[in-house]
Structure formats: C-alpha cells, structure tokens
C-alpha cells in the first residue's frame, strides 16, 4: 500500500500539477481566442530551457531561475502573438491553429539550435528523499506541488480581484459585448499571453526538476494537457485543475502492478490520456464542468 502511494500516487500528483498548469493555459487561451494552441507544449519546453540558461550561465538554483524563466517566456508568448497570431485575427480561427502548429516547430528547432538536441538536467546527482511515516517525500516534489497550488491561487485572485482579470473573464464570456463595454480586447489578449507564458514556464521548470530536459519534452505534454483541458471542460480554467490531476494520477496509477504485471505497459502511458479524452468526448463533450464545445 505504501509502495502504491510512494511510487504511483505521489508521482501522479506531481505530474498532475504540471499538467494542470499547462491545461489552465490551454483553457485560458481557448476561452479568449477560441483556438487550440498547438505550440503550448513547445512553449513549456522553452520555459524549461530559459531556466537552464539561469542555472548554467548565471549559476542560479533552478528555484531562483523560475522567475527569470517566467518573465522570458511571458515576453516570448506576447511577441509570438504579435508576430504570428495577431495578423490572422480577422481570418477564420483555424488559420491561427495552423500558424500555432508552425510556431511549435519554430520554437522546437530554435531550442535545438541554441541548446542542442541532447538531454540536459538542472542538477545532477540523486537527492535522498525524506522518509516520514513510511512516505517518501522528495524536496523537489513538495516544491512542485506547493508552487503549483500557490500559482493557481494567485491566478484565482487575479481573475476575480483585478480589473484585468475581470476584463479577461468578460472577453471570454462574450467578446462582442466586452468590446462594446469599452474593454480593450487587444490589451486583454496581451495580458492573457503573459499569464499563459508564466504558467508555461512554471510547468516547464517543474517538469525539468522532476525528470530532465529535452527539446521534445513539450510535444509529449501536448496530448495529456489537452486531455486535461477537455476533461475539465474546455474554457474552464478551474476544471483544468481537476482534469490535470485526473490525467496525471491515471497515467501513473495505470502502471501499478496490481496482478503481478503492470496494468498498462509504461510504454503506452501516453495512450491513457488519449483514451480518457476519447471517453469524455463520447460521454460528455462539454467536460466535467460544462465547458464550451462546438
């Protein structure tokens, strides 16, 4: 039982927190721009590599490099929107999705060009876990989950207490009405990219801390993150939290050797998220929290 918690449930919660941060961004972008942002995974990878820059070049700890990565990724997101997505705003939204597909490849090849195609780590060596009543707790895991909770709480305050956050929700509810009321849509979109960029950087740094960095790390996140966003109800940032946790825990727990062999071979972990997404689309396409569909 303790093995189950230590080696399946806790890693599930950790990866679930990472998926949550990505899925919130995906949901936020969908609710305001009405697009599936396919470059989200690669933006996350870029965030992780920005932090690597802080770690390697400036000698910072990855925790210290997180704010730097957030600022740089937020700036990249806003710039990317200005250069690649904004000019297409008047066209059908699918055009923006095609553009984001291209941006994904540009980001990925830029990472390979600058940092090389190999694997990187923030810190080498093994960290000994703290053992507490049989639970193996690693410092980095506590940090990841704790920081994810703090970020989600900050986002909640931002969306409910600040003028920009309220404007964001207004644009998401009804863009035309929001514009008529004098909300500057473009400013709201910029703020949204800033928030999404920060969340991406956090997800990337956490994933880098948890495992390692490689230029393809973002692409493999894309499917579980979208599954999480759809599970929670697309366009519902709070639903994305539940979705992210469900997908993360399901992926890890699915490899639990309940009857001797792993229930699902770890090589097919990626199929779990997809299967859950497909079942959700069959059963209730609006997701658990009645998000937008169609």
């Amino acid at each position: 039982m303790l093995d189950f918690v230590n080696f399946y449930l806790i890693p599930g919660i950790v990866i679930g927190s990472i998926y949550t941060l990505g899925a919130i961004g995906i949901s936020l972008i969908f609710s305001i721009l009405r697009i599936a942002h396919l470059a989200h995974g690669d933006l996350i990878a870029l965030g992780a590599y920005f932090a690597l820059f802080g770690v390697v070049e400036l000698g910072w700890s990855p925790y210290m490099a997180l704010p730097l990565a957030m600022i740089l990724t937020a700036a990249t997101s806003i710039g990317m929107d200005r250069l690649c997505y904004r000019p297409l705003r008047r066209m059908r939204t699918v055009m923006v999705i095609i553009a984001s597909f291209g941006v994904a490849l540009m980001l990925r090849s830029a990472i390979m060009l600058i940092w090389g195609p190999g694997t990187e780590v923030y810190q080498s060596g093994i960290q000994r876990p703290m053992i507490w009543a049989g639970l193996r707790l690693q410092e980095k895991h506590l940090f990841i989950v704790g920081a994810a909770v703090v970020l989600v709480a900050l986002l909640h305050l931002f969306l409910t207490r600040t003028t920009t956050g309220k404007a964001m929700r207004a644009v998401s509810d009804d863009p035309d009405l929001a514009r008529v009321c004098g909300i500057r849509t473009e400013a709201v979109i910029r703020a949204m990219w800033g928030v999404a960029g920060c969340l991406c950087a956090a997800a990337g740094v956490f994933l880098g801390l948890d495992t390692q960095l490689n230029p393809l790390m973002g692409f493999s996140l894309l499917l579980p993150m979208f599954a999480a966003a759809i599970l929670g109800g697309i366009g519902k940032p709070y639903g994305a939290i539940v979705g992210g946790m469900v997908i993360g825990i399901a992926e890890e727990v699915s490899t639990y050797p309940l009857f001797g062999d792993p229930l699902v071979s770890p090589t097919y972990k990626a199929a779990i998220a997809f299967t859950l997404m497909v079942l959700m689309l069959l059963w209730r396409p609006t997701g658990l929290f009645k998000g937008r569909v169609l």
């Binding site: 540009m106 692409f219 990626a270 199929a271 689309l281």
Partner: protein
Amino acid sequence: MESATGLLLYATAVLTLGGIYAILALGLNIQWGFTGLFNLGIAGFFAVGAYSSAILTARPSPEHFGGFGLPMPLGLLAAALLAGLLAWPIGRLTLRLKADYLAIATIGIAEILRLVLKNEQGLTNGAVGISHIPRPFESLPRPYDELAFLGMVAGIVLVLYWALERARRAPWGRIMRAIRDNEASAEAAGKNAMAFKLEAFVFGSMIMGLGGGVYAHYVKFISPEAFEPLMSTFIVWVMLVAGGSGNNRGAIAGALAIWAIWSMTEILTSQLSADWTTRAAYLRVFLIGLFLQIILQRAPHGMFREVPPPPPEPSSPRQPESRSADT
C-alpha cells in the same frame, strides 16, 4: 556521361518523392481544402498504409508479422483500405465537434500509432523496422528502373488528380464546399453534413494510406522514424497551404515546389562541416515554420487560388436557375 546519369537519377528521386508527397497533399486537400476538416495526423495514415503494404508484400520473415509475398497492387489496395478503416471511427467520434477536436484526436492517434510501431516487436519489428519490401521494375537496368517507378507515381498522381477534379465539380464537391463554408445552411438544404464530412475524411485518409504504400515500395525499408510528425504531417500542410488549399493543381504544385526546395537546401547544408550540418538541419525546420507564417499572412490563398466550380448546366431549359453568388 557519368555525371549526366547521376543528375538524372537525382532529379528522378526528387520528383518521385515529390510525387508521393503530392499524393498526400491531394488526400489532405479533400479533407481540408474541400471540406475544412483539420487532420493533423497525416503521419498516422501514411504509416498505416506503408506498414500494411510492407507486411503484405514482403517475403516471410521471422522478425515481424507476415511477409505474405502478395503482389504490390494488392498491398496498395490494403494500404488504402486499412487507412480508411482507421479514419472511420476517429471521424465518427470527432467530426460532430469543433475542428479543434479533430486536430487533437488525429495528433493523438498518430502518436499512439508511432508507439505501437516502435514497441510491438512481433508485428512491426519495433524500431528496427521492416526491410526487403519489394520494389517494382527492379529488374530493369539502372536509370530505367527509377524512371519506371517515377512513371508509376506520376500515373497515380494524374489519376487521382483527374478523379478529384471530377469529384470537385460534381454535386459531391459542391456539397463539401457548402459544408465547409456554412454547415448550418448545408444542413438546412437537407444535406447530412456529418455523413458527407465522414466520407471526405475517410476518402482523404485512404489516399494518404495509398501514399504510404507507394512510399514503402519506393524506399524498400521502413521504420517508425520515417513517420515523425515533422516530415510526414507538417510538411504536407506547408505544401497544401503554399500550393493553395482547395485547388488540386495547387496541392500538386505545392508538394513538388516545397519538396524541391527542401531537397536542394539539403545539398547546400551538406557542404558545411559536420557540426554545422546538424545545426543547419534545425535551421531548415525553423525556416520552413517561418515560411508557413509568411504564407499565411501575405498569401493566404497560396500559389493557385481556389476556383469555384462552374455552375452546372440547367437540366431543363424551363428552369432558369436563380442562384446566389458563389462564395
């Protein structure tokens, strides 16, 4: 004389692969260009076609499933059918939702397929792949075998072009355009949009499967690496968007032009030192991404703008059809 033959062989190889890409681009044109279906899993249908034909036509081998030694046309037929069979349930499930869902679902299917190809040793020989796939015309002397294969690819492209042009002008193509441009009004006109979208999705995927089959017989050796999303999904999208989506001639021209550019830049970068050659490979990917952004913003119609099919001849002279402007 030697170098002339070499040049001829090189040009033949570029044209043959360009022709295979043209088959994929034509398949995507049915889905995206005609009907507006957002398929980002071309790699998956391409791979299913390639592996189906390879398993059916290769000689028996202990390394992977089958090796049935069947003739190539049967392999190609199975390639198209199996790709269509894969497309049907995906389409059933996601076509009633917004385009975004089809995009995500097709990315997912292609990724899972790649995992299957990589891990199911018994079926596909895993990462090692399937070799000894028969290639037609191999008994001919050197330049002629390649030329004959090119002729076969060109023949397939031309037949597909002819068929798709017929389809585009036929009522079927008009309905597809109607669904793409305004699904609600197509439904109001009594068309079952879901059924037509499913037809377009399955038909387009079958063509991609056929392309995969032809590819397997051309390269004679396939492994999961050949079906990375970059070289088999993304580049086909760039080809169609650059050529002009909705225009079959554009799909073919885009495929040949982008493939020619891609192959020729490879010659340029292979002149560099080893370290720079790998870096230049990433730079090429970056530039092709940038190229797509520029086309989308500056020339969204591509090289060949979509031409609406001419209105049909009125079936009887007493019905002067009044029609609203075609969009």
